[in-house]
Structure formats: structure tokens, C-alpha cells
């Protein structure tokens, strides 16, 4: 059974960046799931799903529905109708994206497909890393019910402190389980503002330093996997993972951390 890792947080704090950077150091075989309809994880990893002949869940679901209409069927077979068309298999990692939908209504249906998928998928991987959309609704939906490590990425604002409380409240009420809840500060934290995170009563793992390379890569749409090993953000992510007890698959880690 694979380890289930979820990254969450308010908008723009750096959830996807963290997932993209962390993905490099996790144990194979690993699966990444992008739950954000405003998808960007594939871009950040330099994968063009379209080009690889893969659909996102929203499109696959829409296609199944359209086909069913023609054939007078209902429902779908998760494995044969959807899985093959959405699961990208790469040398480094596998990836599934929720994707944007262009019809009226919420994302409950595509989310439900993933929710059904995840328990089956987890069996095939050592680690499953889920990148959440901004905000809290994904918790209400219980897309991932059994989390091993929940990383909450925060920016330095009073809103962030309140966000931590809200996450805890929702998770408790809707009964999402987790083994660890970890806080991570984004690059905008200073020594002074980091104190806020140390005083919340949750495990604070440290901050991700400002990295001009990340900014440049994101602007150009370049893969974050190509970021140098000694780039500030990379070094921080490794340090954070080690602190959370991860065995990093990187040979000469000790020299850099």
C-alpha cells in the first residue's frame, strides 16, 4: 500500500511548486495527481498530456457521457473506460490530472471518479502525491479520505493562521484521517513571521527560500525538474522532506543539506 501525501493551502502559496519539487525525491514508483481544474502541475513538470495522447478526467468523463448518449447506456467502467485514457506513465513518475470542464456545474463528478480511483491506485505505487486546488472545498468533498502526510503550505498573513484552523475543523467534521499534519512556510516568510508558524502547535518543518530560478522557470513554462540541485528551493524542499522523515532518493544529499 502506497503512502498518500497531500499538499494543500490557500491560493498562490506554492502547493504545486512544492509538489513538483518534492516529486523528484520520492521513492519510485510514484503517482502524481493534480486535483486543480485550473491545472498546472503537468506544465510545471514539463509534460504535455495532450501530446502524450492522454486526456484529463473531466474530458474523459465528458466523452464517456457523450458516447453513452449515443449508445443508450449509462454509467462507466472505471478501469476500461477511464483509466487507460487518463493515466500518463512516464519514466520518472505517473500522472493524472482532473482538468477543466466546460459545462455548467461543479466538479463533484470528476472528483468522484478520482475518489473511486485512489484506493485502487494506491496499491500500485510506493507513493501517491496529490496536489489540491486552492481553498478548502476538496476537503469537504473527501476526495482523499486516508492521508498519511498532509503538507499545508502557508503565506505570511493573518489569513494563513485562520486557514490552519479551518483545515483542522473541516477535516475533523467530515472525518478525513491523517497521520501527520505538517506546516511549511513559503518564500515570503521572514525570521519574524516564521514565529507565527512555530507557535501554532502544529509541526512546522521550515520554509522554502526565495528562488529566482523558480520564478524564471514558471514564467517561461519550463520544467521545475530541471532546477539545479543546489538551487535554494530545491535545497529547502530536500531539507523539509528529511525533517518529515523521508528517505530521499538522492545520492550525495548530506553535502547539500
Amino acid at each position: 500500500m502506497g503512502k498518500v501525501i497531500v499538499s494543500t493551502g490557500r491560493g498562490g502559496t506554492g502547493k504545486s511548486t512544492f509538489v513538483a519539487l518534492a516529486s523528484k525525491y520520492l521513492n519510485p514508483k510514484k503517482l502524481l495527481i493534480d486535483l486543480d481544474p485550473d491545472e498546472s502541475l503537468a506544465d510545471m513538470l514539463g509534460v504535455d498530456l495532450n501530446e502524450k495522447g492522454k486526456k484529463n478526467i473531466s474530458t474523459a468523463l465528458y466523452d464517456v457521457i457523450e458516447e453513452n448518449k449515443g449508445a443508450g447506456r449509462t454509467g462507466y467502467n472505471l478501469l476500461s473506460d477511464v483509466m487507460q485514457s487518463v493515466l500518463y506513465r512516464g519514466a520518472e513518475f505517473d500522472l493524472i490530472a482532473l482538468g477543466t470542464k466546460f459545462t455548467v456545474g461543479c466538479y463533484c463528478a470528476p472528483d468522484a471518479v478520482l475518489k473511486d480511483f485512489i484506493p485502487t491506485l494506491v496499491k500500485d505505487y510506493a507513493e501517491v502525491l496529490v496536489d489540491s486546488p486552492a481553498g478548502l472545498e476538496h476537503f469537504n468533498r473527501k476526495v482523499v479520505v486516508d492521508i498519511d502526510d498532509l503538507f499545508v503550505i502557508l503565506d505570511p498573513s493573518e489569513k494563513s493562521t485562520k486557514h490552519i484552523e479551518r483545515v483542522r475543523d473541516i477535516i475533523r467534521e467530515v472525518k478525513v484521517s491523517y497521520n501527520h499534519l505538517y506546516l511549511i512556510g513559503n518564500y515570503r516568510f521572514t525570521e519574524g513571521t516564521e514565529e507565527y508558524l512555530r507557535s501554532t502547535g502544529e509541526t512546522y518543518l521550515g520554509k522554502i527560500d526565495y528562488d529566482p530560478n523558480v520564478r524564471q522557470y514558471n514564467l517561461e513554462g519550463r520544467s521545475l525538474l530541471e532546477l539545479p540541485e543546489d538551487s535554494p528551493a530545491t535545497v529547502c524542499v530536500k531539507r523539509i522532506l528529511v525533517k518529515a522523515g523521508y528517505k530521499i532518493t538522492d545520492g550525495d544529499l548530506s553535502s547539500k543539506v
Binding site: G12, K101, A134, P156, N218
Partner: protein, 254 residues
């Protein structure tokens, strides 16, 4: 009928900051609606909803459903009950603006129910105001839900990333497909954009209104939870917002 203004964008682009700042310069009466369950607009305006004796839409809805289960006539729908509560319990009224917050939901399931109540009530609410400003949650789902279907001015806040550029055609496509109408589609750059990033935004073929300059005070206010309404008139963010509004044809209230 109020002019309907919607602020949208990727997470962290500065949607709520933009709404908080423009609220000061719009012609009264103004209604602000915070659609983000991770609510922050009230905080940014220095308001404690609960202290003011107000409830969020999610909180009121939760109570209504509870009551319906016990003793209320089955002929009164949840929506009818909710609509009256929306006016009495959820609408915070003040001199400068009125405010409704969606709020955090602590039960399982999506936010379609509270969103739907707002979607149905917005046209009625709009009749009482000159301006109505909707602060959206991060992402695109609120557009799929078609909560405000006839927008006057849609402000898209952009950060400097390739993702932001991809976000623009994506939301245009959703808007078209779900049948949302708008009169203007405006791009606004956030403080992180440098000249190079601004150039990208100028070349998208959409109307680019300029950027919100970096403002150290604003950052400090957000950290301390101080109201953005108290930001000095000559601080960089205030000046930028006034410039952006003027460019969009607004008459600035001083």
C-alpha cells in the same frame, strides 16, 4: 440595477486585495460578496462577522436545514427560508458598504447548495445597489457554477507565470460554454509582475489595465489583520487601484 463587478484569478494573484481596495472608491451604495469559503474579505476590511452578530451563508443554511428537519411546515422551501435569512442574518450593513460572506462549510459535500442560494438571490440583491462586487474563490469552479451570469466588468488578476497566461484563454472558454455574459474583460497585473511579465499581458489581445504596485504597508496590514481601508491614499497600492479603475472608465469616489 447595480453594475456587477467580478474579480477572479488564480490563487494568490490578489483578488481579495483588489476588491478590498476598490470598494473604497466605488459609488455608494456598494454590496460586496465574498464567495471564498476560506473567507478573508471581511478580515481584510477589518470586520469580525460574528462580533457584528452576522452569520455566513453556510452557517445560516446549516441552521435552516436543521430547523426544517424539526418543526417547520413542509410547504416552505429551504430556499424561501434562506432568502429571508440572507437579508436578516447574513447581510452586514455599514455606511461604506454592505457585505455577504459565503463562509466555510463543515459538513461533507460540495459548496453547490450555498452557492446556488447566492446565485438565485444576486439578481434581487443587485437592484438595491449602484455597485456589486464579487470576490471569487481561487480557480475556475465558480465560473462553471455560473453564480453571476451577467457580469458587467470582469477583472482578472494575473501573477507573472506561464500558468497565468494559460488561465486567461481557459476561463474565456468556460465562460463561453456555460453561457456567462460580460461587458468588459479586463486584465490587471499583480505586484510581482515586472516589465517583461507586463509585456506578456499586453500581448494577449485582452484589455490590459496596468499593474498593482508593490506596497510594503499592504503586506504589513495583511499580516497584522489590519483593515485595508485604512491604507493611506498615497500608498502605492491605492494609487495603482485608482489608476486601474480610471482606465476602466470608473468615476472615482474620493
Amino acid at each position: 440595477m447595480a453594475r456587477k463587478i467580478v474579480s477572479t484569478g488564480r490563487g494568490g494573484a490578489g483578488k481579495s486585495t483588489f476588491v478590498a481596495l476598490i470598494s473604497k472608491y466605488l459609488k455608494a451604495p456598494t454590496l460586496l460578496i465574498d464567495l471564498d469559503p476560506d473567507l478573508s474579505l471581511a478580515d481584510m476590511l477589518g470586520l469580525d462577522f460574528h462580533k457584528e452578530g452576522k452569520r455566513t451563508v453556510c452557517e445560516a443554511l446549516y441552521d435552516v436545514i436543521g430547523k426544517r428537519k424539526s418543526n417547520i411546515s413542509p410547504t416552505i422551501t429551504t430556499h424561501d427560508l434562506m432568502e429571508s435569512l440572507l437579508w436578516s442574518d447574513c447581510l452586514y450593513e455599514e455606511k461604506k458598504f454592505d457585505l455577504i460572506s459565503l463562509g466555510t462549510k463543515l459538513t461533507e459535500g460540495c459548496l453547490c447548495a450555498p452557492d446556488e442560494i447566492l446565485r438565485k438571490t444576486i439578481p434581487k440583491l443587485a437592484k438595491n445597489y449602484t455597485n456589486m462586487v464579487v470576490d471569487s474563490p481561487a480557480g475556475v469552479e465558480h465560473l462553471n457554477r455560473n453564480i453571476v451570469s451577467d457580469i458587467n466588468d470582469l477583472f482578472v488578476l494575473c501573477d507573472p507565470s506561464d500558468k497565468s497566461l494559460k488561465h486567461i484563454p481557459r476561463i474565456k472558454e468556460i465562460i463561453k460554454q456555460v453561457g456567462i455574459s460580460y461587458s468588459h474583460f479586463y486584465l490587471v497585473a499583480n505586484y510581482e509582475c515586472n516589465e517583461e511579465a507586463e509585456k506578456y499581458l499586453q500581448n494577449t489581445g485582452e484589455i490590459y489595465l496596468g499593474k498593482i504596485d508593490y506596497d510594503a504597508k499592504l503586506e504589513e496590514y495583511n499580516l497584522e489583520g489590519k483593515s485595508l481601508l485604512e491604507l493611506p491614499e498615497d500608498s502605492p497600492a491605492s494609487l495603482s487601484v485608482k489608476r486601474v479603475l480610471t482606465k476602466a472608465g470608473y468615476q472615482i469616489r474620493c
